[in-house]
Amino acid sequence: MKTSNGAKHEFDAAPWKGPTKRYDIVKEGSIALVFVVILTIALSLLMGSPDEPPLTFKGWAVSNADNFYVTAVQELAGTSGTATYGPPYNKASDGLNMGPLWLQKWVGVTRPIDSVNDFVIAPLSTQVMSTEIASALATWNAASATERQGWASAYDDAITKVEGKLSDVPAGAYGPVPALAKGLTDMAKAGALDAALLSQGGFFQTDNTKQILFFGDGAYLDDAGTKANLQGGTWGMMNETGRYPGQAWLWLYSFWYQIPPFNNEESKPIGANADAYIMGIMGLLSLGLILIPVIPGIKSLPMRVPIHRGIWRQYYETQGIKRRKK
């Protein structure tokens, strides 16, 4: 017997009047819970869970003092990743865009970070310091903004010219910048910088933004991410430290970073703004997932692909319902 689409819709929506069977959903739920509890306990006992200790500024400054020192100079010169980031931290750039949509720029600076003071001067000022560092700080604080920028830029340029080999940097008008960078490096080596970065502004602090951003400006965090196979270009978003499953459900988000033009930062306009475009794509796809029942083509896919014949095999056999003809 054939029915119209409207009648079939009403039939699907109406309470089932066909054959039924006894089905204890409370028992089913209880068995499922016991099964999951046992499985979870077994996996926990056998596998444990990942827990790589966090990186510290002390670890960075001790293991790669030159890189830490150069990063401190970049913070003073305003050339680090954070100093040049743009919103929501500062106005050094406009940030990323999706065509005419400059959302990052439009929301503006909501989490202001001044890399010079927040990352270098303020932490150094909390310390009992040597005469050399105290003098360097006093010189810096007494100087004009132009003088400070001139010293820091000159030193940063000189380091860049010798490709970071500090022993080859020629003498120059760098003012107190070398002493300040050395002071911060020594402070980090002593283990005092982590807490100093966090505690700015009061006793109770739960915001690690300054620490995380400063970390990312150097090579230490990036190297550790590469070593742990966590880089975005190698599906790192889905990975976890050690031999544990990560956020595998982010596979589609991660997928876009593996293919052109998203995986090429030099490719304009999309590759250079990959983060924004991929966010946009995933937003649309998420909306698409919710709206599948009304999207032509996709909503009728299950009727055309006979996977349902396997799911309801018993019903189709007992009712003698053959596969529909295309």
Binding site: K2, H9, D12, W16, G18, P88, M279, I292
Partner: protein, 207 residues
């Protein structure tokens, strides 16, 4: 009496979702596949996540780094999340291939899809509050995506306090509420009939 909001709500509830529908002791005969188990398995894993999460919340985010009991509880939380997503994804694919939105079940599908998205957000904030190297790395990398579309101005992945509150309070509340609505929708509408199922008599059409 019938003008009372309370009475109207009770009457509507009793009409739409009587206790026999909420806790039925029978099901259509076509409910005979392992695929039907994955919805309830997802709920069971969610219960395990909430249980282990409550213990972790009472002890604080750093407890599991230094305590064997903490490490084990964290492992329970970790693996129940992994199982939760495995079960939920199988459930979701199963419902897709069953076209389970048929017969006025759009809201059931939509709440399920929103629950899936809310689960991803909740798990993501969980990874950010591990207070270990992984959370350092994820927060540094993820900030660029959120900042690029302006969301980072308020949703600050590098802010441990904000992420912790969202993970243990706000997002579970949202996810829990959506899940309850989803389950109630399933019970209200019943399990979708098979594709190609036809009424056996004319009286079964268009009731």
């Amino acid at each position: 009496m019938s003008e009372m909001w309370t009475a109207k709500l009770r009457n509507k509830w009793q009409k739409e979702l009587p206790i026999e529908k909420l806790l039925p002791d029978d099901q259509p005969a076509y409910v005979a596949s392992w695929i039907y188990v994955f919805g309830v398995l997802t709920l069971a894993a969610l219960a395990m996540i909430i249980f282990s999460g409550i213990i972790l919340a009472f002890q604080g985010p750093a407890w599991y780094h230094t305590s064997h009991a903490g490490k084990f509880t964290n492992s329970l939380h970790f693996w129940s999340v992994q199982l939760f997503f495995v079960f939920m994804v199988i459930h979701l694919w199963g419902k897709f291939w069953m076209a389970a939105w048929r017969g006025k079940r759009f809201a059931t599908w939509a709440t399920g899809a929103v629950a899936f998205i809310a689960s991803i957000a909740t798990a993501f904030t969980g990874y950010l509050v591990q207070t270990n190297f992984d959370s350092q790395w994820i927060s540094f990398e993820a900030k660029d995506g959120f900042n690029s579309v302006g969301v980072g101005a308020w949703f600050t992945v590098t802010n441990l306090g904000q992420m912790l509150l969202l993970h243990v309070a706000f997002l579970p509340l949202i996810l829990g509420a959506i899940t309850v609505v989803h389950v109630l929708m399933v019970r209200k509408r019943g399990v979708v009939p098979p594709i190609d199922a036809q009424p056996s008599t004319d009286s079964e059409v268009g009731r």
